[in-house]
Symmetry: C2
Subunit: 229 residues, 2 copies
DNA sequence: AATAAATTGTAGCCATGGCTACATCTTTTA
DNA sequence: TAAAAGATGTAGCCATGGCTACAATTTATT
């Protein structure tokens, strides 16, 4: 298991925790490393979940089944990504999603109980762990709120403007590269790709932004801000 | 301060905590009760927040200022409602909103540090408190995710269908009362009231639902579910 | 009970944006 | 290096849903 420590340490859950102590801590937590074969399920929609998972090797897919029956992948998780933390921290702990490995994978499972209940010999790390857990949930809240803000905006231009401003603020520059391609971006903004492309063209024509591929430049910030009304 | 205990106890933060211990606990936490006059500000957008607030008396408004400069009230909080818990649990603790009292009010402030750091004489309550804190954040995540699911649906009928199904499942009945009026509902679904009313009429005409005022009845659940594609 | 105010429902008009189809350009694979 | 697959941009068509205006109904106020 030791060979995976570098991966495990990267998770924010172990932020500020002395790397030398992780071995001790994982034992204290009763963490378990499990192997999964391609396409094996980790848990299904409706299952009661009691562990937090950290991907140690391979790929984990998070799948949302709609009431209407169709399946939609909402996340691809890679090594050191955490999952299920949002589920175990609710009252009933019932998963609204299904998790499956896409390739042969290894997952580290940590019992939620052990994380939030300080162990008998209250190690200092435990309290840091709990604080990290809360911070992770807090930050997730921020991300969800940002997404809601975006989705709530009326009009194509407003959505594009808001997103580009967000990116620009995050990077601290007027010129920046985006990560998503056009289709993914349209998906994120919940609009059709073609209509989004059309509006991007218009915005370039109007001289408020410029772009080539994934490189964007904000030309008239004030104009973009005006779009948000 | 004792006279406000019944209100304070109602907060989920003190769930499962012996009421007799609350007095001791609040002292251990260094909780402070403060008075505010009508229209006084509790904190402004951009302020760094270090305390969780619980409304003890009066009304607190949470206000969102858009980049474009207009103000929008996103919540009215009443006695025993908690606020700022989502802010203090992030990394930088900067508030994205402004809080103001709408009438003469009393607010109980609890230092976040004290909540998540067990005190020297580790009282048992402290751990419960921390677990409650995590549960609160987890549940908030669930609510935000539900809202995103709704906003992401394409088409008026899908949004209405999803919301009515949610309400029906929550209440466990096909017939139920909604809380919001038409304007508030339209706002929640992020559509115009008139278009929503039009679609509600059509749905009634099609015989998939029936309603009168705030009373709704789901007539053909399978049909509603089909709308979600 | 009478009036005012607020809430809800309906209709017509038209802008926004989704969809199909295709062209252009880029990247991957053989 | 050619061919295939994928990503991006553009255009035309038309359905969805936003908006204004007003009617009908319910609730609040005097």
């Amino acid at each position: 298991m030791d060979k995976y420590y570098p991966t495990i340490e990267e998770s924010f859950l172990f932020n500020e925790i002395d790397k030398k102590s992780i071995d001790h801590l994982l034992k204290c937590l009763g963490a378990e490393l499990k192997n999964y074969d391609k396409d094996e399920y980790l848990f299904l929609t409706g299952d009661k979940i009691n562990n937090i998972g950290i991907v140690v090797e391979g790929i984990v897919e998070i799948i949302k089944e709609s009431l209407a029956g169709d399946r939609h992948i909402i996340a691809f998780l890679e090594a050191s990504d955490m999952f299920a933390e949002g589920i175990v921290s609710t009252i009933n702990k019932i998963s609204p999603v299904t998790a499956r490995v896409q390739a042969n994978s290894k997952v580290l499972w940590i019992p939620y109980d052990k994380i939030i209940r300080a162990c008998g010999n209250v190690c200092d790390f435990h309290l840091i762990l709990i604080q990290n857990m809360i911070t992770i949930l807090g930050e997730k809240n921020v991300i969800l709120n940002k997404k809601i803000e975006l989705l709530t905006l009326k009009g194509m231009r407003a959505k594009i403007a808001k997103h580009l401003l967000n990116e620009s603020y995050d990077k601290g520059k007027q010129t920046f590269q985006i990560v998503l391609n056009r289709l993914e971006l349209a998906d994120y903004l919940n609009v059709s790709r073609t209509s989004m492309c059309r509006e991007l063209s218009r915005m370039k024509e109007d001289g408020v932004i410029d772009y080539y591929g994934k490189s964007f430049k904000i030309l008239k910030e004030e104009e973009l801000i005006k779009c948000l009304d």
